[in-house]
């Protein structure tokens, strides 16, 4: 690459080591007699890896993401991002994409994507460069003047992703970002996510309830139990970095999803019945 790094990549990427360290995290909502969402969760994400979390509904996946991002302070346990403690404030360098449409309806696509950058006080030329690049990268360039209300759900999610991207996060957390989309759009968005991951070199943690998505996109997949959530198994997919949705034809893909389901089936039934793990 030239003297200037790609617009979306942070200078620190490419280094080795742990990006995210979650140690013995337990979280209970609502005080002593509340709901326990997480039970002694441990997780270490390597820099640059693509990690996916799957688990039955209500198992605490979203809570895990909120804790990792610093949006929630866990009842006990520790979270470290690049060796710095995370407590109650979202550290710079972490980008988050939520499941619901979080685009600001009162701003155009361009202003939405530029929002975080403007606030950080970059000079206008740099802002323009990054926003244009992100819009082109996410296929939104011709919609820059549109408002979210005029776009489809998938495009609005792309706006949210672009908005996160321009801040050059080293860790990208996604909470079921494609949950509200139809299957075909999901597959295409999954490919875009992979492209993005390769381009930025960031660490990615994707929460999903779709086995296919986890198996196809991730380097490693963590399986959570029914509530209170903890990791019951972690699988390594072993895919090459350059991959797309075509790998579903690989024989290993079928074996992977079968294994995932085998682990997950009992937990899902537990969750459905409302049992505790």
């Amino acid at each position: 690459m030239g003297a200037r790094a790609a617009p979306l990549a942070d200078a620190a990427t490419g280094a080795r080591g742990t990006a995210l360290d979650i140690t013995d995290v337990t979280h209970v909502f609502g005080g002593a007699h509340g709901v326990q969402a997480l039970d002694n969760v441990n997780l270490a994400l390597q820099r640059g890896e693509f990690f996916s979390v799957i688990g039955p509904s209500g198992c605490g996946k979203s809570t895990l993401l909120d804790v990792a991002a610093g949006l929630i302070v866990p009842t006990s346990g520790r979270v470290r991002f690049e060796a710095e403690e995370v407590r109650g404030v979202v550290p710079p360098g972490i980008g988050i994409v939520f499941q619901e449409d979080a685009s600001f309806p009162w701003l155009s696509v361009w202003d939405n994507v530029a929002f975080g950058l403007r606030r950080e006080g970059h000079d206008p030329a740099e802002i323009r460069r990054r926003v244009e690049y992100a819009l082109t990268f996410m296929g939104l360039a011709e919609f820059r003047r549109h408002h979210p209300a005029q776009l489809s759900g998938g495009m609005r999610q792309r706006v949210c992703i672009a908005r996160t991207l321009v801040l050059q996060p080293r860790l990208i957390l996604l909470d079921e970002p494609f949950g509200a989309l139809d299957q075909q759009t999901r597959l295409l968005m999954g490919e875009e996510l992979l492209r993005l991951w390769r381009e930025t070199g960031a660490t990615v943690m994707l929460i999903t309830h779709s086995l296919d998505e986890a198996a196809m996109l991730a380097d490693r997949v963590g399986i959570m139990s029914a509530r209170p959530g903890r990791f019951i198994a972690t699988l390594t997919t072993g895919w090459a970095r350059e991959r797309d949705s075509g790998i579903v034809a690989d024989r290993r893909f079928g074996e992977l999803t079968a294994t995932l389901w085998r682990h997950l089936r009992t937990e899902s039934m537990r969750s459905l019945r409302g049992d505790k793990a």
Binding site: V90, E100, A102, F115
Partner: protein, 244 residues
């Protein structure tokens, strides 16, 4: 489907019904559309009228300013502080339901005769819709928007200024629209009682003198101003909603 054409038809229908009422009720109760219009033109041409109009709109202007600012600030505070909102809402609703005209003696006793009393009366009429609708607008912002503000590491002030206010602007504006109309009503009623200036006073004087064309001319003028302002505000309202 031309709305402007339809509005003309509507106005025509109103005039026709008006004229019929005049024929039924006679000139002691109501003035014909023509007489009313003629009187209104006379009024606008007369020297004294504009002095009174200015008095009313001065008080009205202050009342609107105070009601809107107070209403938005209080509405924002309650919208962002769930416990306070829950505690306060029934109290505010109960206050809203009091016939405020009966508080007028109280206000007069506190403020004395004159402009401050008129302004106070306008404010107590208009502040409630602004406050209630602002509060509701802020409360119903989708949680993911607020989460996003935290994810982008915005400070509290930045969050309010760049996210919460724009997000709830349509609702706030609806509250302001209704608040402005009610404030005008409050100011006018205020003038009925303890003022010797203002359009409300003119109205009272005309009614006392059994000056039917005069009374109706004033009402026509007031309603026209309110309707025009209302239409203008509604257009802005539509713009706000349109791009969302």
């Amino acid at each position: 489907m031309n709305t402007r054409l339809d509005s003309l038809w509507f106005a025509l229908a109103v005039i026709v019904i008006w004229q019929v009422l005049f024929w039924i009720a006679g000139e002691e109760a109501i003035a014909s559309p023509f007489d009313t219009l003629r009187q209104a033109v006379l009024l606008i041409g007369s020297a004294g009228f504009w002095g009174h109009a200015a008095a009313t709109f001065e008080a009205f202007g202050w009342a609107v300013l105070i009601a809107v600012v107070l209403g938005i600030v209080m509405g924002l505070t309650l919208g962002l502080w769930p416990l306070a909102a829950e505690v306060a809402e029934p109290i505010i609703n109960a206050l809203y339901a009091i016939p405020k005209i009966t508080l007028y003696p109280v206000i007069l006793l506190f403020f004395g005769l004159g402009v401050p009393a008129k302004v106070a009366f306008g404010v107590i009429h208009g502040v409630f819709p602004v406050m209630l609708l602002t509060m509701n607008g802020v409360r119903t912002i989708h949680p993911v928007i607020r989460k996003t503000a935290r994810a982008l590491r915005l400070t509290a002030v930045e969050t309010i200024r760049t996210v919460l206010l724009p997000a709830s602007l349509p609702e706030i504006f609806s509250g302001v629209r209704i608040g402005i109309a009610l404030t005008l009503l409050g100011t006018l009623i205020g003038e009925l009682f303890a003022s010797n200036r203002g359009l409300g006073f003119l109205l009272l004087r005309a009614a006392d003198r059994q000056d039917v064309p005069g009374t109706m001319a004033l009402i026509l003028l007031l309603f026209t101003v309110a309707a025009l302002a209302g239409a203008g505000l509604l257009a802005i309202d539509r713009q706000l909603h349109h791009t969302r």
